[in-house]
Amino acid sequence: MDKVDPETLRLLHGYTDEEWLTYFNALVTIAKRECKKRYWRTGRGGLLPQGHSPETIAKEAITRLFSGKRTWNQEEYPGPSPIGILRATVESIVGDLVRSEDHKRYAALAGHSDDRESSDATKEADKLVQKAIGKHLVQPALLQDHLYEIKDVIRRIRVTIGDRADLVAYFDLYMQDLKRSEIAQRLGVSLDRVDELRKQFIERALDVYREFFDAPQPANDKEARLARN
């Protein structure tokens, strides 16, 4: 049994239900992205192992903080809000899941033990995938599929917001990875207006994102690829 810092427990008991629901929904959204990102890259079926979903991952992160399995280091995550430590925990859990799956999948690359610190999980998974790509365990054609898929998402978003020149302009700058202030400067509008455009863009594009997130992963086996071609 891990020892929970009494101050952490006092804080965790002090949040209102509304605050907890805000944290929870934010974590589910972040977990959804993390899962898609990592599994999408490896071309896996999209199903998480061990019956996990973005929702169970968010709950697991909160449970770990309550139970003391994850310690809230106030120097690293200062302030009264737990969202920083919780999102780091979500990332760590997803990293661990991916890592365990990658170990199974790329057994040919043996020599990696499972007892590493979870903070190494992402790097470890990255290394495994890169090695797998190097050994052609992930087919190069899959990478091409990723690019096509993401370009198709961008094209569909442009179509969806096409009737609004201001949203298209915002989206083009957003896709250049510009900061909020840079977008404001380039568009010649206030920061509040950028926030408004961002909100409207998200609302309009959500359907495309849902389709992208629900879509089956590009297949990573020769038979499926041949069947498709």
Binding site: H13, W20, T22, V28, K32, R41, L147, V153, I202
Partner: protein
């Protein structure tokens, strides 16, 4: 490889707004989750039920307090002199510590540990006890005509130096702890 990096980079940028979900309010988050196909009401109900369970399983620890150094000592069959001997202190120092007339931050960790061992309790509880407000002398409270005044807290090592009842051997041992004290 460049294509893979390119696709990943585009994925990251395309979904950056999801990564900033912690900056959204509850209404926005619910809207996003609904639009992404989640049954938000069911999900939130399940979460709140799990949260209630977590809170019940991990309650806020009650602040434990000890009633007094001499109260515990008495329960263990020790008088003030016995406790002084067991801890290498003096009757005067024990009495001052019991009444919290010593500045808590000046009390060496070793002294807290010795007291905890002698009183069969946790060091944290000794520290917590010493950090409470100074206690009135019970006698002074009814003898004086004026309202009883709380004595000012004294530095532990000052108390050791001014204590005429402590043996030279114990005094030296206690003062040696001063060098190990962190700067105050």
């Amino acid at each position: 490889m460049a294509e893979n990096n390119n696709a990943e980079k585009m994925f990251d940028t395309l979904t950056t707004w999801m990564d900033s979900a912690d900056a959204m309010n509850l209404t926005q988050l619910r809207q996003v989750r609904r639009a992404m196909g989640d049954d938000v009401e069911k999900s939130e109900r399940g979460f709140l039920a799990d949260l209630a369970k977590l809170k019940a399983e991990n309650p806020i620890p009650e602040v434990q307090r000890i009633e007094g150094l001499l109260v515990i000592a008495k329960r263990l069959g020790l008088d003030v002199a016995g406790l002084a001997n067991q801890t290498g202190l003096s009757v005067v120092l024990i009495t001052k510590l019991d009444r919290r007339l010593i500045r808590p931050l000046s009390v060496p960790q070793r002294v807290c540990r010795l007291l905890a061992e002698a009183l069969n309790t946790a060091v944290e509880l000794i520290v917590e006890y010493l950090q409470q407000s100074p206690m009135l002398a019970t006698e002074a409270s009814f003898r004086a005509k004026e309202n009883p005044r709380i004595q000012e807290q004294q530095d532990f090592f000052e108390a050791v130096r001014s204590d005429r009842s402590v043996s030279e051997e114990r005094r030296s041992a206690l003062l040696a702890l001063e060098e190990q004290q962190p700067p105050r």
